[in-house]
Amino acid sequence: MLRTNLLAAGIAAALGTAVLLAGQAPPAQQPPQEPRPTQEIALTITGEPGTLPRYAVPDFIAASPEADTLAAARVIGQVLWDDLAFEREFDLIPRDTYQSIPAARSLTDVPFDRWRELGADGLVIGSVRRVGSDLRVEVRLLQVSTRQSALSKEYTGATANPRLFAHTIADDIHQNQVGLRGVARTRLTFSSDRDGERLGGTVEERTVKEIYISDYDGANQRRVTTNRRLNITPTWSPDARSIAYTSYRRGVPDLFISNIYQGTLENPTKGRGQNFLPAWSPDGTRLAFMSDRDGNPEIYVMNRDGSGLRRLTNHPRNDVTPTWSPAGTHVAFTSDRGGSPQIYVVAVDGTGTRRITAESYCDRPSWSPAPYNEIAYASRTGSGFDVKIIDLSTGERRQVTFGEGIINESPVYAPNGRHLAFMSNRTGRQQIWTVDRMGRNLRQITTVGNNTMPDWSR
């Protein structure tokens, strides 16, 4: 039985990521490996040949009688089901088919035959108990045919957010069973006008936009900025503890870094020119951004504190929307130097600029994490835009969204490279959606107001 404190696990995960990114070798990098619990025998649950293993995830058992424990037991089961379905590595048996199976009262009292009848290869059962002011969650991943345990863990954490237990368990199961870095604990950030606050003193009615964050699945949407101006282009630092964004809080657009757990603010560019579109280097030490400080839109790189400023592009046309390669050696950006906006790549020392798209209009390059070697971007298709992906090794392109006359733009990768978040106005308003990199598994993340320019935490 491995005991994990959620907070400690979170910090360890963050540190692990930082170390990994700092030491990563270009271009191939492995997803971070969490240490395997040594006391367990490796057991991979398989399905029928050629099919995904079928999983059942019933409600967790409430092992103490408090109302919030009961609620947590239900929430964890449902959210865990959703999290496991998200990566499409398992075939999740719908929860409304479990009714005929008597609810387990303990982790040792499992009606395996009934689950087998339902066609389950794997069964996730768990219990939730209140211990002091915390919740303690025990979980087992069982192979139904052999009744063996593939994963057995215990988690202790605050009662406030039971979803986080489910997300942590889902990430552990993905790591344990398929060696995959799941994204259940990652988060999104985006710009939203949902508060409907108007900008004072202007001629027209202008609605302010504030920076918001949410869990990867859209739960726990929370506001980060409160300055009642235009705040756009938010982007997570690699350790997911800071958000850099473009803010008009002082009138002129400038870059700010909000340290969301300390409530502090940094302003590395200090109002020199108009500054937009910050992009963190993979090690979190530098920011690329677009500025007109030398007369026209160019890409610059600076240290996080604003020192060490260097100009990366030098062209009289527009150079805009920088994004880093996963190894931090290159920057992709948009330029209209060839007549129309297209995606270019340049080495971070400013050499070797090359164009990689030749379409009618392309923008918002987003470089995939390894093992994929591709760039997602928004491309004009007819009167709208769609998300496309270009494979950098083969030059092959594929389209991810198909919305004639609809705007699908601002694509960004999930940290495991398997999903994208983007903005679409397909419902009439601008909303954040996620989709996997092959164009399946489309999900709407936001519903209130207009929500644009997402970024996905590492």
């Binding site: 001629v203 235009l230 937009f276 007109d292 150079d319 929307t321 209009y361 923008d363 918002r364």
Partner: protein, 193 residues
């Protein structure tokens, strides 16, 4: 178009006259105000047969003097709400100053020469048929192009600030060619006077 512009001017004058009267702080009972024509912005979809002129005719003569007074006495908000500075419009994905845009900028230059203390911000705006990120650069180019033209007419660059809003603040949220055309603009805001 021309009559609408003239109407707008007349409305402005009437408002100005009313404000001017108010500013005197005499206890004059509120004069029975002439019926205001609807503001120019709210265009009636089906155009009424005859362009209504009645309200506007008489005060035309008083124009120059009153304009002078009101410009000086109005607040920035009042000035900007009914701005003497005209917006300039751009073609799709373009920051080029068209002949029409030149006319608007020529007129704006005259206003700026008349009111030497005014500092204005030129806002660059784009329509939603460009991407959100690229439009931040395009809006910048539009504002800078308008400023460069005004500087070429002798307006000091220090009086002309630029700011790009990309497609974040559309003037018309519609998805029609007409709406897009309105949103591709350099918009003038008087920021100090």
């Amino acid at each position: 178009m021309r009559t609408r512009w003239r109407m707008a001017l007349l409305v402005a004058l009437l408002v100005a006259a009313a404000l001017g009267a108010g500013a005197c702080r005499k206890k004059t009972p509120p004069v029975a105000r002439p019926v205001m024509p609807p503001p120019a912005a709210t265009t009636t979809p089906a155009r009424p047969p005859a362009p209504p002129e009645p309200v506007g005719e008489s005060p035309v003569v008083a124009e120059p003097a009153m304009a002078e007074d009101t410009m000086a006495s109005r607040t920035l908000d009042e000035l900007n709400r009914d701005s003497p500075l005209r917006p300039v419009f751009f073609a799709y994905d373009s920051a080029e100053i068209s002949p029409e845009a030149q006319q608007a900028l020529n007129a704006n230059a005259e206003v700026l020469k008349k009111y030497q203390s005014w500092v204005v911000t030129i806002e660059g705006h784009c329509d939603e048929r460009g991407t959100a990120e690229y439009n931040l650069a395009l809006g910048e180019r539009r504002a800078v192009a308008a400023r460069a033209y005004l500087v070429s007419l002798g307006i000091p660059a220090e009086r002309l600030k630029v700011i790009s809003y990309g497609k974040e603040f559309p003037f018309d949220p519609g998805q029609t060619e007409e709406a897009y055309a309105k949103n591709r603009r350099g918009h003038f805001v008087i920021t100090s006077k």
